[in-house]
């Protein structure tokens, strides 16, 4: 009896010691910023969102705005996972300012320069999850040599399907000078695809097939044909008071569209129903529309888009927003 009691006490003692020795489980938390890479100026509102088409003389706030300026937004997610510093970009923006002037862009600031304002160097970026492969979202991959690219298999398959289509009117990357008429391969210049291919050759690409947990609290959700064939959403459980965020790239081209249930940025490779299902996904994951992070929302960095209102202006008028800070992270807002 004495011996069995002794054994029991030893077992309890060992269990207690093991519990004390085990690392204290801490909830994973991430700091999140949104940075503006450039701004497409004077976009006719109706071309971006058919429901918001400008009606001359209209007094409705839905139809009395002629043009809007659309930011090119890049998400920056920073945290420490298993003792390792991680910086993840949601989209990579573009760097073609010197030769794609025709886009009517202004306030260009390279993503690498915007990151410097957050105290992050290009070499510190560990992962880039592109919402899709268009040039203004996957156009500066080579600026981040250490980063691993995450892109959907369906995205690559969608482009390959288009360029090998037997009829040249569909396979054409552009059907006439000055326009691509929404052909499916439009939006993927060889330069951008070379950058994606470069990541694959460097062994720094993960071809994602559907859902994926990238790391604790960061998940990829497919949103196929919600903008392009292989669009994807990035769910970030911040572990802070803001809760869960969902970066939607061009599936969430307009945050107002998600709020007001209106389609935005129509593409030949997109299905309106898929876009609305992707909107719904954000409602499901975050409990509403406030935490859906848009790729081109015109009211970004203002109080009209509350999650991005804590903003400031960086180089060349390109803006930044501090969305949330993990414990121990200091504010970078100037």
């Amino acid at each position: 009896m004495k011996s069995s009691m002794k054994k029991a006490l030893v077992a309890v003692g060992l269990a207690a010691a093991a519990t004390l020795a085990a690392p204290v489980a801490q909830a994973q938390s991430y700091s999140v910023w949104l940075v503006e890479n450039s701004r497409f100026m004077n976009v006719p509102y109706g071309a971006f969102m058919p429901d918001r088409v400008f009606v001359p003389g209209s007094t409705s706030k839905m139809n009395n705005i002629n043009t809007v300026d659309l930011p090119v937004n890049v998400g920056v997610i920073k945290g420490t996972v298993n003792g390792k510093a991680e910086v993840i970009l949601a989209d990579a923006g573009w760097k073609q300012q010197d030769y794609l002037k025709m886009t009517g862009s202004d306030h260009y600031s390279a993503v690498v320069d915007q990151l410097k304002l957050l105290g992050i160097s290009a070499g510190q970026v560990t992962k880039i999850i592109v919402g899709h492969g268009h040039w203004d979202h996957a156009g500066s991959l080579s600026d981040f040599p250490n980063a691993v690219l995450y892109i959907q298999k369906k995205e690559l398959e969608g482009i390959e399907w288009a360029i090998n289509y037997p009829h040249p009117r569909i396979s054409a990357t552009n059907v006439s000078p000055g326009g691509c008429a929404r052909t499916p391969a439009c939006g993927y210049p060889p330069k951008t695809l070379d950058e994606i291919y470069g990541k694959v050759l460097a062994g720094k690409a993960v071809i994602v097939d559907g859902e994926m947990e990238v790391m604790p609290g960061i998940n990829i959700h497919p949103a196929h044909h919600a903008h392009t064939a292989g669009s994807q959403l990035i769910e970030v459980k911040t572990g802070t008071s803001v809760g869960t965020l969902v970066f939607g790239s061009d599936v969430y081209s307009s945050w107002q569209g998600i709020r007001d249930w209106m389609m935005a940025n129509p593409q030949s490779s997109a299905d309106t129903a898929q876009q609305f299902l992707a909107y719904e996904k954000c409602y499901k994951l975050t409990g509403g529309y406030n935490n859906c992070i848009s790729g081109h929302e015109p009211t970004s960095y203002t109080a009209e888009y509350p999650i991005t209102k804590n903003s400031w202006v960086g180089a060349n008028g390109a803006r930044l927003a501090e969305i949330t800070l993990a414990p121990g992270e200091s504010s970078k807002k100037k």
Partner: protein, 200 residues
């Protein structure tokens, strides 16, 4: 009519004339300097910006700079366009042949079968481009285009070598050449075919 004047008067008059001449010279020089300074400091006229109401592809159609191509330059751009379209498509097909090899089948024979025809596409494109006579102002652009097509062609030949020895270094070298060519043609298309790529 000049009057005959005495020695001291002449000296005084000469001094006055010299002073006047010097003054004119100084004023003239100041004028030239002022003109140069003003000219250097006046901002060049910004290219005219006009809104384009049509919407083609991508998310939007909006203001972009008006290009000032001469009729000869326009003709050159028009003649080059169909070749450019084929070159771009072939470039994308080359990239996807490499992607499929690396991410799907790892079949070097398949890679060679996909890439070999592209060598001919680029070579033919090069021949056709060289037949187009560019206007003097676009000679450099023309030469760049010819070189870019050569680079693409060279990239395809490099890629095919994988079928011989299975070494990825051929793919890496080919990708570098391809990216260099892609950058060159993207820069040119901004001049020759404004609006080729829209925001999307």
């Amino acid at each position: 009519m000049l009057k005959d004047v005495s020695g001291p008067q002449r000296t005084a008059r000469m001094a006055t004339l010299k002073g006047f001449g010097l003054g004119v010279l100084v004023v003239g020089l100041i004028g030239i300097v002022a003109f140069a300074v003003i000219r250097e400091n006046v901002k060049p006229v910004e290219p005219k910006v006009e809104a384009n109401a049509s919407f083609v592809g991508g998310l939007s159609q909006h203001a972009h700079e008006t290009m000032a191509l001469s009729p000869e330059e326009e003709s050159y751009a028009t003649a080059l366009w169909p070749i450019h379209s084929e070159v771009k498509l072939a470039a994308v097909r080359m990239i996807f042949a490499g992607l499929a090899y690396k991410t799907e089948d790892h079949d070097a024979k398949k890679l060679r079968a996909k890439v070999q025809p592209l060598t001919k596409t680029f070579e033919d494109a090069g021949i056709r481009v060289r037949k187009i006579k560019p206007p003097a102002a676009l000679q450099e652009a023309h030469n760049t285009y010819v070189e870019a097509v050569k680079l693409y062609s060279s990239a395809t030949r490099e890629m095919i070598k994988v079928a011989d020895d299975g070494k990825d270094e051929h793919l890496i070298l080919a990708q570098q050449r391809s990216e260099q060519a892609s950058l060159a043609i993207l820069k040119l298309s901004d001049v020759l075919w404004p609006g080729e790529y829209k925001p999307n």
